[in-house]
Symmetry: C2
Subunit: 209 residues, 2 copies
């Protein structure tokens, strides 16, 4: 049985870890690839063991709105709710850093809910935390102007990478927030003047964020 798995998913019972090792299918996804497209059928539930994945909501005109990161020790909430009925994906998942995944075949997702208490709790907790995260995203777009949304965005990036140096271009931030690059450049400049960040080419140093 995989030992690293236990460290990534400490709440899982030994039985469950064994079952995952036995039945899960290991996958690798290269940086830049699209793991899941909007409208695609979901065939399994995905656990992330390494790497970093960005989850987007897409609109008809090609817009991509960033919602949250999927990281090691986490599972795709959408793939869990949808898996039960093999629904179409409502989101798009793009790999940022080369990722390794474990695909859990659809019927097991359901079966384990009854058999493994720790799986059940993990699934419920995944729903809850993602739902809450999405609600916070709604707050930021519904209640706040672009300057505050940008700060919120940078804070989340910081949490995700655990560092103060974000490797992001203005363009990438702009499309994540569904605005234009100029707007982001201007706002970042203003933040730099206020001493909140330090701007460099291709990366942003967070000072007081």
């Amino acid at each position: 049985m995989n030992d690293g798995l236990q460290q990534l998913f400490p709440s899982f019972s030994t039985d469950l870890l064994q079952a995952i090792t036995d039945k899960g299918v290991d996958q690798t996804a290269t940086a830049g690839s699209v793991l899941m497209r909007t409208g695609q059928y979901i065939k399994n539930t995905v656990l992330v063991t390494s790497g970093k994945i960005k989850i987007y909501r897409e609109d008809a005109d090609g817009g991509e709105f960033f919602m949250y990161y999927l990281q090691p020790g986490q599972a795709c909430a959408i793939s869990m709710v949808c898996a039960t009925k093999s629904e179409k994906s409502q989101i798009m998942a793009k790999v940022v850093e080369e990722a390794t995944l474990i695909a859990i075949p659809l019927p097991l997702m359901d079966k384990w809910m009854m058999e493994h208490r720790s799986w059940y709790e993990f699934v419920i907790d995944t729903y809850r935390s993602r739902f809450e995260e999405v609600l916070e995203v709604i707050d930021s777009i519904a209640f706040r102007a672009m300057d505050e949304r940008l700060e919120f965005y940078l804070k989340r990036q910081k949490e995700s990478c655990g560092c103060n140096d974000l490797k992001l271009s203005h363009q990438e931030i702009a499309s994540d927030l569904n605005t234009s690059r100029e707007v982001i450049s201007r706002l970042l400049k203003k933040m730099e003047q206020h001493g909140l960040v330090q701007l460099h080419r291709n990366h942003i140093e967070l000072l007081k964020i």
Copy 2:
């Protein structure tokens, strides 16, 4: 056992319906009352048997952003995910039309997941459909301007009430969308000129929406 209950929740097994009748606590909420405030602890899962409830996201400055309706035959998704760990509510629920509810004590929510397949499926399906609804709300604010957001809003109101005559003031729409009354009045006027709606005092007649 309650017969109307079966009609409202046709997917529930006889056993489950009986359990709900036995253990659920009937409640009534008058129109205008606030059923649940942001930050309040969730003590039980709520099933709606009659009436109409609006679910809002609140911000620190008193803003209220409308997310979705809770109607007969539905359950509060938030109260389901949160119930497991007795978390604080992330939303505010306001009664629009006098409502009757069944409160399911917290421990039963969990217990029934294992005992009643139809409860399990209902809960998962509630998560899924609310998650999807919230994602659509994100679309509307992230990708669309106020005129399209207003149309989307009116469409949802129509679906909710099942009629073409919405009893809403411009002010109520404005605060649901977190904008100002003037903006809504202007946009509605434009829609009326385009023959999409007919405006009356305190109600809006939908023509081509």
